[in-house]
């Protein structure tokens, strides 16, 4: 083994291969904070170095796991003691900015927030946004096809990527750094890698699509008395704000009350007695127009009784405070530990019944269990946290079955935006049919015949 690591060391330099305690000192997973067990961690500076490293690994049948910002939630970055970690942490260069074409070319290790700031500097915006923006990387966003809070308006990561450069399992580099909006010359290969969770190749660079900046924003937190009015409110806001609806984030009372009054972590801008709370954001170009349209839309919704109460932020400081309630995942983790976390998709009209029945079925077994729900309602995406007081394997299996089983009937997905990783691979067949899974496995076989890339993740084991 040492000979392989020695060869790799020659490629990346002694400083950029970590072994032993230096690897253990790093976490493998941000939720469990368990140490990284990999045999070594390699930090290539660019695609050329990574290409050489992968060629060596291919030769030696050495499996690898790619690391970005490690903010994933499905154990997609966990490495075993005989695996090598490829960390893209040194690949943080923003290579070029094209204000005319509206593109940004970056290395895969750049944190999302740095990309957002680089776009702002030229009066544009990078439209993907999520709570982990400070730590998560563009490569990780691509590998997981990340979603977040602006999907309702701009789509997922897949919609923000124009081109990619990828290092394949055998070390060959495929450059598909397209920077045109339109390019129908043959297969669009980038989509094969977006959302592949590091199992088909390692993304090293990307051309990202930018959007015009929407400097005028308005934020409100509203309370809804029923699920019917909540759905009516979503339709109403879509219609009245048109393209300016930037976010429609729903918090079930279980989430909102917990993070405000029950824990004291945030002041409660609205009383905690309504079943649903929504954080609504209007995004536009003109300060006065956007403010007026937003206030009119909210007022009209109130008059139509689609919402029972609302506060409107009168400064960005207040808006930030409202968002802080919705984005306080750290608080949620502290308040209900241990917990099982789920990221599911389902038709919006099925959500209320689904959540009520899930709560009932969980409480039947664990009467004191906590079921906490929030999500991107407009995207049909809910995040469900369940805490029964213990985290043993038996409980996990039971809870997973309670959460996932009903999804099959209503045509939902076990993973809306977090991916499959290790955590959900046993349940893939709930959301994908045998034909789909068979084609995925053929693709994996063709791209990574030795099975070296993020081994054992996403797809069922062969045989």
């Amino acid at each position: 083994m040492d000979t392989l690591l020695d060869f790799i060391e020659k490629v990346v330099g002694a400083k950029n291969i970590l072994r032993g305690e230096d690897v253990r000192a790093r976490p493998a997973d941000w939720i469990t904070k368990e140490p990284c067990l990999a045999l070594a961690l390699v930090r290539p500076a660019n695609a050329e170095q990574l290409s050489q490293v992968m060629a060596l690994c291919y030769e030696a049948d050495q499996p690898v796991v790619t690391h970005g910002g490690l903010t994933g939630l499905v154990r997609g970055a966990v490495a075993a003691s005989n695996e090598l970690v490829i960390s893209l942490e040194r690949m943080t260069e923003i290579e070029s900015v094209d204000p005319v074409g509206g593109t940004l070319t970056v290395q895969a290790g750049v944190p999302l927030q740095i990309v957002q700031e680089a776009a702002e500097q030229i009066g544009m915006q990078f439209a993907l946004d999520l709570g982990a923006r400070g730590s998560c990387t563009i490569g990780g966003n691509i590998a997981t096809n990340a979603g977040g809070i602006r999907v309702i308006r701009y789509g997922m990561m897949r919609d923000q990527v124009l081109g990619l450069e990828v290092v394949l399992a055998d070390g060959s580099v495929v450059s598909s750094m397209n920077n045109m909006l339109k390019n129908n010359a043959g297969y669009d290969l980038k989509h094969m890698f977006i959302g592949s969770e590091g199992t088909l190749g390692i993304v090293t660079r990307a051309v990202l699509k930018l959007q015009p900046q929407q400097s005028a924003s308005q934020t409100a937190l509203v309370a809804c008395d029923s699920f019917e009015s909540l759905v009516g409110l979503l339709q109403h806001m879509r219609q009245t704000l048109g393209g300016e609806l930037g976010a429609f984030e729903v918090m079930w009372r279980s989430y909102y009350a917990l993070l405000t009054k029950e824990s004291g972590r945030h002041n409660a801008p609205l009383d905690t007695d309504a079943p649903f709370y929504v954080l609504i954001e209007g995004l536009g170009n003109d300060q006065a127009e956007t403010a007026q349209r937003f206030e009119q839309a909210i007022t009209l919704a109130f008059e139509k009784e689609l919402l029972s109460d609302a506060v409107v932020a009168n400064s960005d400081t207040q808006s930030d405070r409202l968002w802080a309630i919705r984005e306080d995942i750290e608080g949620l983790s502290e308040l209900i530990a241990p917990r099982f976390v789920f990221d599911i998709s389902l038709p919006i009209i099925s959500m209320d019944t689904y959540v009520n029945e899930l709560e009932a079925s969980v409480r039947e077994i664990w009467p004191d269990a906590k079921v906490v729900v929030f999500g991107h309602l407009g995207d049909g995406n809910l995040h469900v946290s369940i805490s029964t007081g213990d985290s043993n394997e038996e409980t996990r299996i039971k809870i997973e079955s309670l959460v996932y089983k009903p999804l099959k009937e209503i045509g939902g997905s076990i993973s809306a935006e977090h991916g499959i990783g290790l955590k959900k691979k046993d349940h893939l067949s709930i959301s994908r049919n045998p034909g789909e899974i068979a084609l995925m496995m053929r693709l994996k076989e063709a791209m990574d015949p030795k099975g070296l890339l993020n081994r054992g993740k996403v797809l069922p084991n062969k045989n």
Binding site: S215, A220, P269, Q287, T299, F302, A310, A313, S315, D316
Partner: protein, 249 residues
């Protein structure tokens, strides 16, 4: 008890400020504007005094172009009873503002005037003090706590290494510091009601005040960009840099 609160429309605290290309001023075109945070705290304090049954009426005053009515409506949505807009397109200096407010005090005869200690755009921190001098009333600046007891107002101020509490005879002028309170959000039903609350539009001339200019702004510049740090390989290299480049040892 009647309270007057003066409020200013300023660039939103979170906005990254851009300087006009000719360096004459900050670029305010299509930039988010908001209530000055210290003024917002002043409004909140007045509302709390009203909720406690101490104040009976809150009048908000703002000086500026038509757009300041937006901030006056916000203040009324938060809980102020009525508003006075003194319309002008010029940017009055602190002394002019203080003179106008002194005239408003003559007309309205409030027991308490609460102002933000300063606005986050011009950072002058002068109006409250000037107003106290012009009206010959006691002042309690940078309040971190305000209590009304009979005919007095007790103002606690954060001073170096401790707290200092003053007792002022009403009517008095109080300016607010950041930690006095956390302003509330405007509730939608109150925003709707605020549209029907009285808003009186006046001009400086109505109060017999003529703006005089004593100060002119020469230029506005962005701060110099900080140079990125560098990593050195050894202590010797550091000593060398400190000696020969930074010349500090």
């Amino acid at each position: 008890m009647k309270i007057i609160v003066s409020v200013k429309r300023v660039i939103d605290y979170n906005v990254k400020v851009r300087v006009k290309s000719d360096n004459s001023d900050v670029d305010l075109s299509n930039v988010k504007m908001a209530l000055n945070p210290f003024c917002e705290i002043a409004v909140e304090e007045a509302i709390r005094l009203k909720e406690a049954g101490i104040a009976s009426e809150i009048v908000v005053v703002s000086i500026g172009p038509n757009a300041v009515q937006e901030q006056l409506r916000t203040a009324m949505a938060l809980g102020a009873d009525r508003a006075i807009h003194i319309e002008t397109d010029s940017q009055p200096e602190p002394l002019n503002v203080a003179k106008l407010l002194a005239k408003v005090m003559e007309v309205e005869a409030p027991e308490l005037v609460i102002l933000g200690k300063q606005s986050i755009d011009s950072d002058n921190n002068q109006v409250g003090q000037m107003l106290a001098a012009l009206t010959r009333r006691p002042q309690g600046t940078f309040a971190s706590k305000v209590t009304v007891e009979g005919g007095d107002v007790l103002v606690t101020r954060e001073v170096d290494g401790g707290l200092r509490t003053l007792s002022l005879t009403l009517p008095a002028i109080v300016t607010t510091d950041l930690r006095l309170n956390e302003p509330r959000y405007a509730k939608l039903p109150d925003i709707m009601k605020a549209k029907r609350k009285p808003l009186e539009v006046k001009t400086p001339a109505d109060f017999g005040v003529e703006f005089k200019q004593h100060i002119s702004q020469l230029k506005v510049e962005t701060p110099a960009q900080r140079q990125a740090g560098i990593k050195l390989d050894s202590v010797d290299a550091l000593i060398d840099k400190l000696k020969n480049e930074a010349k500090v040892i």
